[in-house]
Symmetry: C2
Subunit: 341 residues, 2 copies
């Protein structure tokens, strides 16, 4: 740890140790705390600050949710040669994901496509770390979750959909994978709160007020609803994510998850669906699929457009070389939380 | 057939007979002509005019493409317990889809998720008829294809992506399924041409000119590139569709398909990916997934928002009761094409 003015520099091992000790002190057993601490460390490493150490106080709040199960042990079900289900038992999603990952991956490599349904979990993590676990194994991957019903459908006036992220990854030989991970809401919920705190107006098209009228007032938006990105197309896509990551796998929609939260405002509890494809099986054709995808990426980059995740990979390289920098007030806030050991 | 002023009314059997006879006269054997005529009839029935009889002259042009194989017989490959591939042999995609459908459906019902890769096909059809084939069997379904590289990535200045449609379906007990089918371009390519013909300006955000600058001039847009819907998120989604429906299944990207066309401007030749999920296997939990999804649909509809495809289902009911109405000039154009039998 080094301090310089209003910044504190931490090694990645320090970030992990702090996160783990706070989670354990909050009551999480090590087997649940470690996967969560790993993802917080990865978020901080890639300068996804909203999923880094900033999240620790929220994690403590979630662990204290009356419906959170600190003793949860994930139960993996070997459903079919292409389907794996894992019941997180109302602990965090991440220990369940790690428990089911070997079977999920093995099935994709054996039959070409495989689905993993994570049920009954509390969920705070970004999806890209999970996508990268799969691209690192040479698999193409999609992940989706619902959230809480803060988002109005196109043409509507109140929340029915979640912020419903979708993430996708494509492995690239000898390079960082092509990965995106975005909310299907026009803007993240946290960004609305940040605008409110800063007294800044929202952009038009982000939100509606409690009467269903367009608003650029952040407080009115928090009482009303957010909108999806991309109008009726984004709204349809968000609905698809609700259905695939909710009812399809017999888990909660964002409406149901909001009910389940019962006003505590913890991390949402709901399911997650992941789909993995093995290009060695699906692309067993005459065409070289890496040459084909690399030509596409070149056509994008050569005209000055950026691939998603490039900023993350640049941040990662910096963090691996020099550690991470966080604001002093965040460091102080995190260090004021009870820690174990 | 009934004529009244500038409208002609046809029964659905007449639409099918006209379409089939034109396709056969153009050189398509009956086994290829019938699936194509069926989809044209369904498009006309649902008042998706761009995929109805309007498409017949374009189909004739495609059949005359030097690389179109009139003698193609689809070859179905039983790849794995979850994967089916079908080689369309550079005929139309639809006979290949119909040939592979039984195996594709059986696998989804057996292992819970199944993928169908259609390779080496000419493609003109909307995706919703294929999605409805699957929802009719109680399956949840996704379909995607690339097209030709008319669409610039977010932040770019020239075409690299296709109009790349994605379609999704969710079966509903005793009701029409929830189905959407949209291009990930901001607007359909044909609509740009219609604006040019009508001398109407485009909406901002639809297209850029050959120098990569925003334009509302349709002619400049046709020389330049279209944009995706939804900014960088739509652009990322379009890239995902390129990768899943192209290189993943060892078929062409939109860039490669444009090369393959070699300036003929026929229907694009490329692959298609379909994914089917069996909710009976994936949703084998304690939760009633129909109750959960119906609550979501009610939350959307009860606030005055529309579900996608509702206009299509209304049109279908009208067409089934009264036949379809088409403009006199379209009828005359279609009837001027050579017909068999």
């Amino acid at each position: 740890m080094e301090q310089s003015g209003d910044r504190v520099t931490l090694g990645l091992d320090e970030v992990f140790a702090i996160a783990k000790s706070v989670l354990v002190a909050a009551g999480l057993p090590e087997r649940q705390a470690e996967p969560v601490a790993r993802v917080i460390t990865e978020g901080q490493r890639d300068e996804c600050h909203s999923h880094g150490l900033f999240r620790l106080p929220g994690c403590v709040q979630t662990i204290n949710h009356p419906r959170f199960n600190r003793a949860a042990v994930p139960v993996v079900e070997n459903t079919t040669p292409a389907v794996t289900k894992v019941d997180a038992g109302f602990g965090y999603s991440l220990p369940a994901l790690e428990a089911a990952m070997p079977l999920f991956v093995e099935k994709a490599r054996t039959v070409g496509i495989s689905v993993l349904a994570i049920n009954n979990c509390f969920h705070f993590s970004a999806l890209w770390p999970e996508i990268e676990m799969l691209t690192a194994k040479g698999l193409v991957a999609i992940a989706m979750t619902p959230s809480h019903s803060w988002v109005a459908p196109a043409g509507g006036s109140r929340g029915a959909l979640g912020t419903n992220p979708i993430a996708f990854g494509w492995p690239r030989a000898g390079q960082d994978p092509y990965v995106f991970d975005f909310a299907t809401s026009a803007i993240a919920r946290g960004d609305i709160s940040l605008h409110k705190m800063a007294g800044k107006p929202l952009q038009p098209g982000w939100a509606i007020d409690a009467d269903g009228n367009p608003t650029t007032d952040a407080a009115a938006a928090l009482d009303g609803a957010m909108l999806t990105f991309g109008g009726h197309k984004g709204s349809a896509l968000s609905t698809m994510i609700e259905l695939l990551a909710g009812p399809l796998i017999a888990d909660m929609t964002s409406l149901e998850s909001m009910d389940f939260d019962d006003g505590v405002k913890a991390a949402p509890a709901h399911g997650e669906i992941l789909i993995a494809f093995d290009p060695a099986i699906l692309g067993g054709g005459v065409r070289d699929n890496q040459a084909s995808s690399e030509r596409l990426f070149s056509a994008i980059v050569d005209q000055g457009a950026r691939l998603p995740s490039v900023r993350r990979y640049e941040a990662r390289a910096r963090s691996l070389a020099h550690g991470v920098q966080i604001p002093r007030h965040l460091y102080d806030q995190v260090m004021s939380l009870p820690r174990a050991g």
